[in-house]
């Protein structure tokens, strides 16, 4: 009697465990059912992850995927939206679990980092079969996809930092709205002309460099386009030009006062409350994507121009900084060939042009961008943006994550924050940051 009960007991426990495990497994399958071959025979079905969940980009990508699915009958792409905050940790977890999506939109700055850690698939064998894949893309973007001379991604879209300026405000104070400031010195002159101070408060702020760019971009602009690391991976934080750039930023902060800046910054809204649209700020250094904000929120007659970031000194170059996204096949994906086909489609001139036209993104495909400069469906402003972008990309630097110090930025930012608070001089800040980052590199080597 007892024995029978005992075996019954162990059976129940086993069954219970199995049930528990099954219940936990079920959740996973929902997210990553990529092996499905679809209902209609030989069709390969692949899963595409991106973070475009709403608005212009979502509409554009869904239309493009539908076009792709109807254009051929071998590959069926399923679009899966993953929120911005989750997508890459989720994909990492799925790669570690051996059940990743087939194609994913990834950050352009960490392609090599993922390639090194075997999180992405080597695409060189497919790319080698192509005639001239390289010439499709802007050279500085193409460079980012290589790790040990093998390509691990295809560039998809990009961006660049430019100046937006309020032409009406320029005219009001007697500046020529067609000649934006070309050097840092000119920028300062212009800003002084545009400032409107009323007692203790500012009614209009001509320009403040950290709205909305990081000090790293100004440092790179001053230092001939060399970021915190040079091309060989040496730490180039503490250079005279970069110290200069930080001093320049401090001067601006002193001029308007840290309190003014902090309180304005905290009030900055988006939409109609945007300080550039409301006229509070006349010149704004910002990602060129900012154009979509203006398009959505600025009144019809809002009169603005775009210009390259001014030069540190005459002739030093309008160096700017950019980022962007690439398409990758996560490591362990089952149909890399089909995935590559789809990626190739997404980076083709026609599709890139379409995505750009619908989302106003700057595309990685050069021809697509140049086509958009004179595209009949774009208005003058839209064409101006693509013209500016195409020109600016020549002096735009991408700063991939250094493999020996992937998480260096908090070290540098901490020192610069302390400098902005007046706790140390720019020289001290960069000296300390240089030492800290060199120490981090040493730890990882």
């Amino acid at each position: 009697m007892v024995k029978r009960k005992k075996s019954w007991l162990s059976l129940t426990i086993t069954a219970g465990t199995a049930l528990l495990l099954a219940a936990c497994g079920g959740e996973n399958e929902e997210g990553t059912g990529s092996e499905g071959t679809g209902d209609d025979g030989d069709k390969v079905s692949i899963e595409f992850w991106s973070f475009w969940g709403s608005g212009l980009r979502r509409d554009a990508i869904e239309e493009i995927i539908e076009d792709f699915n109807t254009s051929q009958d071998e590959i069926e792409v399923e679009y899966v939206y993953q929120p911005w905050g989750d997508i890459w940790t989720k994909s990492l977890a799925s790669i570690a679990a051996g059940d990743p999506p087939d194609v994913i939109v990834q950050d352009i700055n960490s392609v090599q980092q993922r390639a090194e850690a075997q999180q992405s698939t080597n695409l060189q064998e497919y790319i080698s079969q192509e005639d001239d894949m390289e010439s499709l893309f802007y050279p500085h973007l193409w460079e980012t996809v290589f790790y040990e001379e093998n390509a691990y991604a295809l560039p998809f879209n990009t961006d660049t930092q430019v100046l937006f300026y309020n032409k009406d405000a320029f005219e009001e104070v007697g500046l020529d709205p067609e000649t934006p400031p070309a050097t840092w010195e000119e920028l300062e002159e212009y800003a002084r002309a545009l400032d409107v101070q009323n007692g203790d408060s500012w009614e209009r702020i001509g320009f403040y460099p950290l709205w909305n760019l990081g000090s790293d971009v100004w440092a790179l602009n001053a230092d001939n386009g060399v970021s915190w690391f040079d091309e060989e991976g040496n730490v180039t934080i503490n250079t005279p030009e970069k110290v200069d750039a930080l001093e320049w930023i401090l001067e601006w902060q002193d001029y308007y006062g840290a309190n003014t800046i902090n309180s304005y910054e905290a009030e900055f809204g988006s939409g109609v409350a945007d300080p550039f649209i409301s006229g509070l700020v006349s010149i704004r250094a910002q990602n060129i994507n900012y154009y979509t904000n203006l398009l959505e929120n600025a009144p019809e007659d809002f009169n603005f121009g775009v210009a390259p970031l001014p030069e540190y000194e005459e002739g030093s170059g309008n160096w700017s900084w950019g980022g962007g996204f690439v398409l990758e096949v996560p490591y362990g994906a089952e149909n890399p060939e089909a995935s590559y086909e789809f990626m190739k489609y997404l980076t083709s001139t026609e599709v890139q042009e379409k995505f750009g036209l619908n989302s106003f993104d700057i595309m990685a495909n050069q021809e697509a961008n140049t086509n958009l400069i004179s595209h009949p469906d774009l208005d003058e402003e839209g064409q101006m943006i693509y013209e500016m972008a195409d020109r600016n990309l020549e002096s735009t630097v991408i700063t991939p994550v250094p493999l020996t110090a992937p998480d260096f930025s908090s070290l540098v930012n901490g020192e610069i924050d302390n400098m902005m608070l007046g706790n140390q001089s720019p020289e001290e800040a960069l000296e300390a940051a240089q030492a800290s980052v060199e120490n981090l590199v040493e730890q990882n080597e």
């Binding site: 007892v2 940790t89 990492l92 075997q118 902090n262 309180s263």
Partner: protein, 311 residues
């Protein structure tokens, strides 16, 4: 417990064996869950902390390298430990005091008390990103509610989340808002305090404060102890707040909100240095374990159990 009894008496009757098995059966959901989802990962990360594990391609044994780096070279490790310690030091006592006081207030016999109780408990059921975003607006330097109220009484409020000296106090303040959860525990305990104790104290002429100090407080010490232990553990694990309120883990101005778990997260998912992150989690485990041990050792000095100590 069942295991202990088996060991004590070498020979068990059939009935006892049967009972022990049934006992095990009833606790099996916990045991299975614990082994699969807690113990397994814990052992794995214990081993992982001695490797250069990066989730996908490497897992080589590197001895104590991760720990050596952590203590000798990683500047941000010490910074994050300091930030977390600061937070724990203020958060734990303040929330404990706050929730006890609130519970005492809400234990009065006043009409409509259930409405007040509901109102004060409400923040505890709101959680996550929505609350943090709300607080980011309330803490806004010029137009935020907090500084507006401070201005009424003639105080110029600080720039809260923008000033590294005030970022942690801002977070501690925010956490005080949601003491409702612990308050509920205290409230339940307060209602168990026998009223005749108060009555006899009142007859002896004890003031309200004395009644609180000598009757209420000693009788709720077990719950205070429980609250302090669990909230210390919870406070060491602070992550979400800092991650959300600093725009995806930028650590706050001058790294002032770089908490231990945030640094660990950065190491794991930004640098893919999972082995190092695992080593960090082991160190945190030891810190929390020893603090809990100290708490347990100190407990007999101030915690009063109604029925006397059981040992």
């Amino acid at each position: 417990m069942a295991v202990a009894t088996i060991k004590q008496k070498k020979k068990m009757s059939k009935k006892q064996k049967k009972d022990a098995l049934w006992g095990l059966f009833f606790v099996s959901p916990f045991i299975i869950g614990f082994v699969i989802f807690m113990l397994g990962p814990m052992l794995f990360s214990f081993y992982g902390s001695f490797t250069n594990y990066n989730l996908t391609s490497k897992m080589d044994f590197i001895g104590f390298n991760n720990f050596r780096r952590m203590f000798n070279q990683d500047e941000l490790f010490w910074k994050s430990l300091y930030n977390t310690g600061y937070y724990v030091l203020f958060n734990v006592p303040l929330t404990a005091i706050g929730s006890v006081l609130l519970a005492v207030l809400l234990n009065q016999q006043v009409r409509g008390m259930s409405v007040f109780r509901t109102i004060f408990y409400l923040p505890a059921i709101l959680s996550g990103v929505a609350v943090y975003v709300l607080w980011m607006q309330m803490l806004s330097p010029t137009s935020g509610l907090v500084n507006t109220i401070l201005a009424w009484i003639g105080v110029q409020g600080p720039a809260w989340l923008f000033d590294p000296q005030w970022t942690k106090p801002a977070l501690i303040l925010m956490k005080l808002w949601s003491v409702g959860g612990a308050m509920l525990l205290y409230l339940a305990t307060l209602q168990n305090v026998p009223t005749q104790l108060y009555e006899s104290a009142e007859i002896d002429g004890a003031s309200a404060f004395k009644r609180f100090r000598h009757i209420t407080l000693p009788l709720i010490t077990p719950i205070i102890f429980y609250d302090v232990v669990t909230s210390t553990i919870g406070a060491f694990q602070i992550f979400q707040e800092a991650y959300v309120m600093t725009e995806s883990g930028t650590n706050g101005p001058a790294n002032s909100l770089l908490f231990y778990n945030l640094h660990m997260w950065n190491k794991a998912f930004v640098a893919f240095d999972m082995g190092y992150a695992m080593a960090m989690s082991m160190v945190l485990f030891v810190i929390v374990l020893s603090l809990t041990f100290v708490n347990l050792k100190l407990a007999p000095r101030w915690v009063h159990y109604g029925g006397g100590r059981s040992e």
